[in-house]
């Protein structure tokens, strides 16, 4: 990935302040990120969540499945910083363990959808003809369904669970990646270096894999990063509707659903929601900065 940027946009800005001196860790970061306090905070937040997810077994004061029926539905206290749920489980611990699910699922959904999209969209763009038409018609068909409704039907058919929910998101999202990839491939195909490779006798497959594809990946990666937050939100929505993992597994969406029957015990639904909000917000800000940094042309999207 290129880290260098075309000159004019950044040249107009003031030079980096003296505080980001030679010894500062900030110098490792790209200048726009280092300059924007919001992006720094967001990056820190993502890092903090990732660390929390990794070290949940160490950080969590209680086991996420440990039930303390006597203290069920108790408000935040010294023992339970964020209170307990209807089965007496510690909300804070379940939130920390919930990060171990949400972050990988968000990433996995995007990677899978993107991968499938790149494969099919690339095939459509590169091979043209009937393959192109077929794939495009299928994407049209699938894009005609709002994500959640498609995901609902899939999980209702195949059963609830983490894999099926991720599968549902993948099935719902690959068409948009495919269309994008196809457009990019069509644009790149006309470029000179591709012509050159063909004249030099490279096989079509070689051209596809070594020349066309790499040129199209970077915008998709950028959009993918922006989508991770959205994937986390969608997975939480599916869990909320009961289409995700079973209820004892700590997952933020299903924790909110459980809290919905206990509106007076506000802590059960509020904290998982704040967790989702902070994580997704952080991802979105980081994604924004990444996009601004790597391809200002994409700022419109």
């Amino acid at each position: 990935m290129r880290l260098s940027t075309p000159g004019s946009a950044w040249a107009e800005r003031r030079p980096v302040a003296a505080t980001a001196g030679a010894a500062s860790p900030l110098r490792w970061l790209p200048r726009p990120v280092a300059r924007s306090p919001l992006a720094l905070v967001a990056l820190g937040l993502v890092a903090a969540w990732v660390v929390a997810a990794f070290s949940a077994p160490v950080l969590a004061p209680h086991l996420p499945l440990a039930q303390d029926i006597v203290h069920r539905l108790s408000p935040p206290s010294r023992d339970h910083w964020l209170g307990t749920d209807p089965l007496g489980r510690d909300v804070l611990s379940r939130i920390l363990y919930g990060a171990r699910l949400s972050i990988p699922v968000g990433a996995a959904a995007v990677v899978l959808a993107g991968g499938l999209g790149i494969a099919l969209g690339g095939a459509a763009g590169f091979m043209g003809g009937i393959i192109d038409e077929t794939i495009m018609r299928i994407t049209d068909l699938m894009l005609a369904f709002p994500t959640v409704i498609l995901a609902m039907v899939i999980t209702a058919a195949l059963g609830a669970g983490i894999q099926n929910a991720v599968l549902a998101i993948m099935v719902a999202w690959w068409p948009s990646y495919a269309r994008l990839e196809r457009g990019l491939v069509l644009a790149v195909r006309q470029r000179e270096f591709v012509e050159a490779a063909r004249v030099l006798g490279a096989s079509r497959l070689r051209i596809a894999l070594r020349h066309v594809l790499p040129a199209t990946i970077s915008p998709i990666v950028i959009l993918g990063t922006l989508d991770v937050g959205h994937a986390i939100l969608t997975f939480a929505s599916l869990s909320f509707l009961g289409l995700g993992p079973p209820p004892q597994i700590p997952e933020w969406g299903s924790m909110i659903a459980a809290g919905r029957n206990y509106l007076n015990q506000w802590w059960i639904a509020t904290f998982p929601g704040l967790a989702i909000l902070s994580l997704v917000l952080a991802f979105n800000v980081v994604g924004d900065s990444l996009r601004d940094l790597l391809d200002p042309r994409l700022r419109r999207v």
Binding site: L263, P272, G273
Partner: protein
């Protein structure tokens, strides 16, 4: 190609696409390992083979799958979408009861997002890097990052339970008899029936869910508008106009606004799908009897005719909206060639 050829081609593709959608939903809804028949009958009856046979025969479930699908398509061509197994009403009637509620909600949410986002985005771009801009940017980021179902729950607890500003979840207060359904939009029907108090009650019930549902699109459209506006403001001709001494607002209105609306039209179309998705959870949280909650109920109840009906309707609306957006896009920006 010309606009008419493009339009014609898209409309021609509509029919096969819809058939494709019915096939997709049929396959998905029948891929379930459970047999809904025994679930519908209750614990005592499902041990009785006579009862099961009678039920299956009544609903045509004892025929082979391809035949069931064929019968469905045949009836569909004559305008009959079958009878819902869980409401015992024709699916058409169910849809007629539920669809307007969702359209009302989605329209209100879209209105909110347009009324808020477009001016906010424009102002944010014009007054770039001011406090307003920073707040608008953070606000929109929060809007696209907040789970709608959680926001709805918080809103109900805060504005209904604690503050009492919002009415109870639902379309109308229970003690008010609904106006005679003409359009299905309660606000409109109430006005048509000259019951302004009912219309006011309906609007009060619509306010909170619409605001919650709009949170995501407000975020998206504001960012879009801001970005697009910034682009335009940076263009040569705008800078020239300002250099010549034209006031900022004159420049904005006459030149920048129209051009920056172009991508916004696309975004409106795209966010419509997001609104329909968001409607499922919003309707669930706010007890709004719309298509979203009907879809959820049918999917979990394995009500095949209902699932297929919902799939068709949703897909049709979505395709039509996309078509309209594409055409509007072509009109607004003559540089764009359709197809």
């Amino acid at each position: 190609m010309s606009l008419w050829r493009y339009l014609g081609r898209r409309v021609l593709l509509l029919a096969p696409m819809l058939v494709g959608i019915t096939l997709l939903t049929f396959l998905l809804s029948h891929a379930v390992p459970a047999d809904p028949v025994t679930a519908y009958l209750g614990p005592q009856a499902s041990g009785d083979p006579q009862v099961i046979a009678a039920f299956r025969h009544r609903w045509g479930l004892d025929r082979p799958l391809p035949e069931q699908y064929g019968i469905y398509l045949w009836n569909l061509a004559r305008g009959d979408m079958g009878v819902s197994i869980s409401t015992r009403q024709p699916v058409m009637v169910d849809l007629k009861q539920h669809l307007p509620a969702t359209i009302e909600l989605a329209t209100a949410a879209m209105l909110v997002s347009l009324l808020v986002s477009i001016p906010l985005g424009m102002l944010s771009a014009v007054r770039r890097d001011t406090m307003l801009d920073q707040l608008a940017r953070i606000g929109s980021l929060i809007g696209v990052s907040t789970p709608i179902f959680w926001l709805g729950i918080v809103a109900i607890v805060l504005f209904y339970a604690y503050l009492g500003w919002a009415p109870s979840p639902g379309r109308l207060s229970m003690e008010i008899p609904p106006p005679p359904p003409v359009t299905g939009f309660v606000v409109v029907d109430a006005v048509l029936a000259r019951r302004l108090d009912v219309a006011a009650d309906a609007l009060r019930h619509l306010a909170l869910p619409a605001l919650v549902l709009s949170s995501y699109s407000v975020g998206v459209v504001t960012r879009m508008m801001r970005g697009s506006m910034l682009e335009v403001l940076g263009e040569e001709y705008v800078r020239t106009a300002r250099a010549k001494g034209l006031a900022t607002w004159a420049v904005v209105v006459r030149h920048a606004a129209r051009n920056s609306l172009i991508p916004v039209v696309t975004v409106i179309g795209l966010s419509f799908g997001g609104l329909l998705s968001g409607a499922v959870v919003t309707e669930t949280v706010f007890a709004w009897p719309g298509l979203g909650s009907y879809a959820f109920h049918s999917a979990t109840a394995l009500d095949f005719p209902a699932i297929m009906g919902v799939g068709l309707v949703v897909a049709t609306i979505y395709i039509l909206v996309n078509l309209v957006v594409d055409i509007a896009y072509a009109f607004v920006d003559p540089r764009i060639r359709v197809g």
